[in-house]
C-alpha cells in the first residue's frame, strides 16, 4: 500500500467499513510511515473540530 492509497482510504471513509485484512495492511502502513501516521492523527482532530463546529452552528451542547 502506498501513501497515496492509504490516505485515500482514510479520507474517503473506506477504512471505517474495511475488512480485517485491509485494516491490517493499513495499520502496517501507518506503523512504517511517519507522515501518514501524523496525517491520521491530525485527521482525527479535524473530525473532532468539524463536529464541534457543527454543534456550534446549530447551537447544540458540545459533545
Amino acid at each position: 500500500m502506498t501513501c497515496k492509497e492509504y490516505i485515500f482510504k482514510l479520507t474517503s471513509g473506506q477504512l471505517v467499513d474495511a475488512g480485517l485484512i485491509e485494516r491490517f495492511w493499513a495499520g502496517q502502513h501507518r506503523l512504517m510511515c511517519r507522515r501518514c501516521r501524523t496525517f491520521t492523527t491530525n485527521d482525527e482532530k479535524r473530525g473532532k473540530a468539524v463536529r464541534a463546529y457543527r454543534a456550534h452552528l446549530d447551537g447544540a451542547p458540545k459533545e
Partner: protein, 191 residues
Amino acid sequence: MLAQKMDFEQLARDFRPPMLRFAQLHLPRREDAEDAVHDVLTAMLATDWSKVSEGGIRTYLFGILRHKITDRLRHKYRGEIACGEVFEDDLDDMLFTTRGHWSTGVAPGLWSSPDGQLETEQFFAVVDLCVNRLPPKPARVFSMREFLECEAGEICNVLGLTQADYWQCMSRARKQLQLCLNQRWFGGRTS
C-alpha cells in the same frame, strides 16, 4: 403543556438566525436558504407541540431544517455531480510523487493545539473559511455527510452519485481541509 405557553414570534426571532446560517452552509443561494428556513417556520405553526419537550425544540427545528435542505439538494443537484472528473488541478499531483509517496515538504506536521483551543470562536472562523474554500461539489458532499449527518447511501441517492464519486469527494474535502487548517491555524509546519 408546552403548546399553551409557546410564543411563536419569539421562537422565530431566536432560531431564524442560526437556522439561516446553517442552511447557507449547504445551499449556496441565499434565497434557497431563506426558503428552507421559511418552510421550517411554517411547519412550526402546524406542529403539535404537546409531543415536543421544551428542551427538544432546537433539536426538533434543526431536524426539520435538515430535511428541508436535503429535499432542496435532491431537486437541485441530482445527477450533476461527479467528483472524479472535476479536478483539473488534482490535489494528489501536488501531494504525492508518481510512485505514490509523499512529495517533499507538503505533508502536514503534527498538530499540537490543546483541545480547548479548538472550540473557540477564532478557530471556528478558520474552519468556516476552510469549508467555504472547498470546491463546490466536494463541499456539498462533505457538508451533507458532516453537517447534515446523512449516510453515504443517502448522499449518493440524493445527489445521483456512484460510491466511487462519493469517496473521491469525501477524500478531496478531508485532504484539503487538513491542508487548509494546517496552513491557517497550525502554523503551516510540514513533516
